[in-house]
Structures are given as structure tokens and as C-alpha cells.
């Protein structure tokens, strides 16, 4: 069985505690993942200052170049599971393992690999977006001259902690720029998805990043807590309950539920049929598991027709075997969770004001089994009451509520929204969304919610999280 070790300052460590990941189709063991005890993590974190000092010595241009090398290694290379380890994973083997243990179809695993590759390969562009074009020499020298002004930034942490999720491998693209920004990372992967962060870590190390750049600590919740408490800057991914406790801690950048939405203004609500492709892509791309997947379609009119048309289209998405190139739905690693989610939806439907429109189009229940896996089929709920609990629900499969609300109430009613795509030319509605603090990413026009511009921040700007602009004067420079 494959052994995935902890990486302590980039060095493999096999723990006596471990978690065996199994193939969800047949229960066969796939990998034994070493688990770090809490104290081991806290002890290693004491050394992060030295690791950062080592990384700081590398010119940023060299680190960007190494990211480019890591991009190819990650995407195509045969990478060991840790420096010096005998076990090597090819890209295909990586995809097979990841798919088998997470339930994500192999085709989607490959698509997510491409997202990671892109961010690594385009690191200069990503950093330019995060820094808004500041000369990256500022990372080497601490200050630069721009338009006759001195600009200086001060690092805020010796390491970026990241407590990571299992739902979608693409989110790992969010922490990667930290290493090019000369900040080591301390990663606690999701229990089901150590694959992507492990492979990124090994690609970065193989590309020549110093060992201290990477800490990879599969662990239980106490390990994640230790990382959040002890790193001066961190990222936390999780559901509402997970992130709630950290909302007041500015050291922690939160990545919670998305509640992303597509909105139709009154002027273009009648065009919904021509936007069905956009709606389907927003709701169901990447298996509907991402925070950028739409869980709501809000419109000022035509909601019944839109819900019916959408349900008809989404009901054509079928559960397929994980290795089927056409597979678009992710299976649940724990079938009980799929059943519980479906029961949750059914309980919501008992409350007046909501109807499952997809039930008219699919040939059976919401939960289906295929090739030994359990899936939830796409579900469209027509909420006649904008305040219905299902109108603001996000679930781990293609699930969407179609809600009608008057235009004057639309922006006020939608609630927190990670990505909003607005189909409207109404300048008043556009302006209202531009200034809404509920909305994080805003797409004006027919852009699917999942289309991410990598040179723009996502739920906060990592550069601003890690660096603070400070006043700086140098007498020698002035003279």
C-alpha cells in the first residue's frame, strides 16, 4: 500500500498514527496517510522563522522560475511522495488514486490539475494581480521606487498556515502564491484529499524550493487548530460552523460556503433560455462541489419557466463510472452523507413554498448508485418564498434554488454571495451590486460563476494577508 508521509520542513516523516484511504467503490486500501500529532506540529512551527529567512534569500524571479518548473512536474511528472522516498506517483496514478478515494471523476481530477498547473506556470501574472502591479523587487529589497514614491511592504508572518478542504482540489491554487511571495506554508490537508497538496509540495521541492518552504501535516482537528493558533497568518476552509469561530480573528482568512448566484434583472429575465448553458455550467461544473458553483438563480420574472427549463437540462446529467471521460458528477466517499443530504432536502420541501422541479424529469430518486458509488443527482428547487430555507442553501452536489423577487429587493434579499453573475444592463441594478458588501466576486454579463480570473483576489487578497504596506525612508536613498 502506498504510504503518504508527513513532510516536516520538506522531510518525510512516517508517523505511528495513520489513516487508511480506501477505494470508495470496493473498500480496498489505496494509501496509508501518516497523521501528525498536535505537539509535533507546534514543535515544528517554532522553526518557521529560520525557514522563512532561508526562503527570503532567493530572488523572487528565481522562485517564479521554480514555480514554472513545478507546474510541469505537478502536471506531468513522476513525483516521489516525499523527497528521497521510493514510492513515485505518475500523473495518471495520482489521478486514479485521487478519484478512487474522493469520488471525484478522473476527468474532473485532471481538470483540477490543470488549474493548479496554470497558477504555478503563470505565477508572475498571479502575483501582479495580487500586488496590483507593484515591482516584485519589493520582495527582495523590502522597498521600491514607483512613480517617484517609495513603496515598502513588511511581511506579517513567518509561515502561512492552511487548513484545507476535501471537496475540490482546485482550491489549493489559492495558497500556492505564498511560496513565491517568500512565505513558507504549513498545510493541513482535508482528511479525504491529501493528494493535491502532497503533490504540489513535492513538485515545489523537486523544482528546487528549499525544504523549509513546505510543511505538510495530515492530522486531526487538533492539528488544524494548532496551525490556526500558532501561525500569524492562515487560511481556513470549511462550512459555516467551521469558520464561525474564527470570524473575529483577522489573522485567519476564511473560505466558507460560497452561496454563489446568477441574477437576472427585469430587463433581461425573459432571455433565460439563451443562458441555459451558462446556468448549467455555473451550477454543475466541477461536480457542483465548489464554492464558486451557483446554488441560487434569482430572477425578477419567469422563475417557473426558468426552473422547469433548468431542471430538464440538469436532469440529463447522469451518474457515471469514475473513469468515464464524460462523468460530471462526483460520488460521495461516505454514502450515508449522500442519503442525509437528500433527507435534508426532503425535510426542507415539507416547508411550504418550495418544490423539487427535477423530480418531474428524473427517473427515480435523488440518490443513485452506479459502479459501486453513491451519487446525488442534480436538483432544482423552485422557491416561491424568497425567505424559504432552501432558497439560501448550498450543498455538496449540483443543487440550486430558483427564486423570484422584485428587482428593488433583489440585492437586499440574496444574502452573502461569493460570486454573483448579473445578467442585466440596468445601470441602477449594476450599481447596486457594485456597492453591495454581500457580494465578493462580481461578474457583469454572461460569465459563469466558476470562471475565475487568476490575477484577481479570491475571498481576500493573499498578498495583503501576508504583507502590510509600511512607511519607509532611507537617508542614503533621499540624498
Amino acid at each position: 500500500m502506498l504510504q503518504l508521509p508527513i513532510l516536516r520542513a520538506g522531510r518525510p516523516y512516517r508517523s505511528l498514527n495513520s489513516n487508511v484511504l480506501t477505494d470508495i467503490r470496493n473498500g480496498q486500501p489505496v494509501a496509508e496517510v501518516s497523521l501528525a500529532n498536535r505537539g509535533l506540529i507546534s514543535r515544528d512551527l517554532l522553526g518557521m522563522g529560520a525557514h522563512r529567512a532561508e526562503l527570503r534569500e532567493f530572488p523572487v524571479d528565481e522562485l517564479i522560475e521554480k514555480c514554472g518548473t513545478a507546474a510541469e512536474l505537478f502536471h506531468d511528472g513522476d513525483l516521489p511522495v516525499g523527497p528521497g522516498e521510493d514510492a513515485v506517483l505518475s500523473a495518471d496514478a495520482f489521478v486514479r488514486c485521487q478519484s478512487a478515494t474522493t469520488g471525484m471523476p478522473q476527468a474532473l481530477c485532471r481538470a483540477n490539475m490543470e488549474k493548479i498547473r496554470f497558477v504555478l506556470a503563470e505565477m508572475r501574472r498571479v502575483l501582479a494581480g495580487l500586488t496590483r502591479g507593484v515591482d516584485l523587487d519589493v520582495l527582495d529589497r523590502g522597498f521600491v521606487e514607483e512613480d517617484g514614491r517609495t513603496v515598502s511592504y513588511l511581511g506579517q508572518a513567518d509561515a502561512l498556515g492552511a487548513v484545507l478542504p476535501s471537496n475540490s482540489p482546485g482550491v489549493h491554487s489559492l495558497w500556492i502564491p505564498a511560496v513565491a511571495l517568500k512565505v513558507p506554508v504549513v498545510l493541513k490537508p482535508g482528511s479525504q484529499e491529501p493528494w493535491t497538496p502532497s503533490r504540489i509540495a513535492n513538485a515545489l521541492l523537486a523544482a528546487g524550493f528549499p525544504h523549509g518552504t513546505i510543511g505538510f501535516y495530515p492530522s486531526d482537528h487538533s492539528g488544524g487548530m494548532e496551525i490556526l493558533l500558532r501561525t500569524d497568518r492562515s487560511m481556513l476552509f470549511g462550512d459555516e460552523n467551521t469558520v464561525r469561530a474564527w470570524k473575529r480573528d483577522t489573522r485567519v482568512q476564511l473560505h466558507g460556503p460560497g452561496w454563489s448566484k446568477v441574477l437576472f434583472g427585469a430587463d433581461r429575465a425573459g432571455e433565460w433560455e439563451s443562458h441555459l448553458d451558462l446556468l448549467v455550467a455555473s451550477i454543475a461544473s466541477n461536480g457542483g462541489r465548489s464554492c464558486v458553483n451557483a446554488s441560487g438563480v434569482w430572477t425578477t420574472d419567469h422563475a417557473d419557466g426558468l426552473a422547469a427549463g433548468l431542471a430538464e437540462r440538469l436532469s440529463t446529467i447522469e451518474a457515471r463510472a469514475l473513469d468515464d471521460p464524460e462523468a460530471g458528477l462526483a460520488a460521495f466517499s461516505n454514502p450515508q452523507i449522500a442519503h442525509r443530504i437528500s433527507e435534508f432536502v426532503d425535510r426542507g420541501l415539507d416547508i411550504p413554498g418550495a418544490e423539487d422541479i427535477t423530480s418531474k424529469y428524473r427517473r427515480g430518486g435523488r440518490v443513485v448508485e452506479k459502479d459501486g458509488c453513491t451519487f446525488l443527482l442534480p436538483t432544482v428547487i423552485r422557491c416561491t418564498d424568497p425567505d424559504h430555507p432552501l432558497a439560501s442553501t448550498e450543498l455538496l452536489f449540483p443543487f440550486v434554488s430558483v427564486v423570484e423577487a422584485p428587482q428593488e429587493a433583489l440585492v437586499r434579499k440574496i444574502g452573502p454571495t461569493l460570486v454573483a453573475t448579473l445578467i442585466s444592463d440596468d445601470p441602477g441594478l449594476r450599481r447596486e451590486l457594485m456597492v453591495s458588501r454581500h457580494v465578493d466576486r462580481l461578474n457583469l454579463g454572461a460569465l459563469p460563476t466558476g470562471v475565475v480570473s487568476w490575477d484577481q483576489p479570491h475571498e481576500g487578497n493573499l498578498f495583503e494577508h501576508l504583507y502590510r504596506q509600511r512607511a519607509f525612508q532611507d537617508e542614503a536613498q533621499a540624498s
Binding site: L16, L35, N37, G39, L40, S42
Partner: protein
């Protein structure tokens, strides 16, 4: 806060007295102490560590990294039993911890958690039943909140023990182990 207070108390005493050589502590407090000071440099030569769940990985971590060179002795006990003794360290055990009760005052039985009358065989996992018999007190077959593997007698302790103790799984959702 309370952990910090406890560590501060321990450090105050350790710094004030040169002759302290032995420490009784919990795993979490040991970790916290080792972040502040080097226990070997403070003259500590032996540590009894227990009070909360401790597994093989922590045993290894403590011996290899927290307090290398110090005699590290895992302990398991309570007011019913007193302290159980660990099997002396043997590299062949791969840091697995085995405890033996203080016979004749206390005896372990490892049983089926769903049928406390069904004894487990050697190397089978089960719930710990503790029987205590002293001149003052008799408590037969008290179900502990722990489970582990029934261990064979060893040379120093020629009676049954328990290996790889952990919280009884049926309680794992309702009990917080080791606040400090």
C-alpha cells in the same frame, strides 16, 4: 489560560529548586514545558507522563524529540487502582505502550464492550474492566472509560495487561480528554 497558568507554576518551582529530578505531568503540559525550557538542562532525569490518552506516536515523539535521554515512563491510573506500570521500553514494541495493573490490589479484564461477561483473547481489542481489592475497599469489574488490546504477561509483570489504551469508542463523541 489554565494551561499557561499551570506551566508557569511548574516553571517557577523548577527554577527555584535545583534538586528536582523527577516530573509528573500530562502529555500536553509536557509539550508546553518543552517549548519553554530544556528539561535535561534543568536536571530532570525521569518523567512520569499520563493523566490523559497517550498513544504510541506520542511515546515516540516524547522519547525522540521532547525529552531525549530522559527516562520517560508512561503512566495509567486512577483513584480506584493507583498507578499501573508500563512494560519496560523495548524497541521491538515500536513504541506501543502496555500497562500492567498493580497486582494483587487491582486486576484488568479486557472484555467485549457489548457483553461484559465475554473475555477477549490476547491481542484482541475490548473494554477495560477494573477490579479493585484492598483491605478497605472492594470494587468488582468496574467498566473503565478505556479500551485496548489484551496483552500477554511479560517477564517483569507475569499477569495480563492492556496495550494501546484509548478512549472507549462509544464515549468518544461525548467525552473531552485532556483539557490540559
Amino acid at each position: 489560560m489554565y494551561k499557561q497558568h499551570t506551566v508557569d507554576q511548574a516553571l517557577t518551582i523548577l527554577r527555584a529548586h535545583d534538586g528536582i529530578q523527577c516530573l509528573f505531568t500530562t502529555p500536553k503540559l509536557l509539550e508546553a514545558l518543552c517549548e519553554k525550557v530544556s528539561l535535561p538542562k534543568m536536571g530532570i532525569t525521569g518523567i512520569f507522563c499520563g493523566g490523559t490518552e497517550m498513544n504510541a506516536q506520542f511515546n515516540r515523539f516524547a522519547r525522540e524529540e521532547l525529552v531525549p535521554g530522559i527516562d520517560f515512563v508512561p503512566t495509567y491510573g486512577n483513584t480506584l487502582m493507583g498507578l499501573a506500570s508500563p512494560k519496560p521500553f523495548d524497541p521491538a514494541d515500536n513504541y506501543s505502550i502496555t500497562y500492567y495493573p498493580p497486582l494483587p490490589r487491582a486486576v484488568f479484564e479486557i472484555v467485549n464492550p457489548d457483553n461484559l461477561d465475554e473475555a477477549r483473547g490476547y491481542d484482541e481489542r475490548g473494554r477495560v474492566l477494573l477490579t479493585t481489592l484492598t483491605r478497605e475497599f472492594f470494587c468488582p469489574r468496574f467498566p473503565e472509560r478505556d479500551e485496548g488490546f489484551r496483552a500477554r504477561p511479560c517477564e517483569r509483570y507475569p499477569w495480563d495487561g492492556v496495550r494501546d489504551l484509548g478512549l472507549y469508542s462509544a464515549l468518544s463523541d461525548s467525552v473531552v480528554v485532556g483539557v490540559y
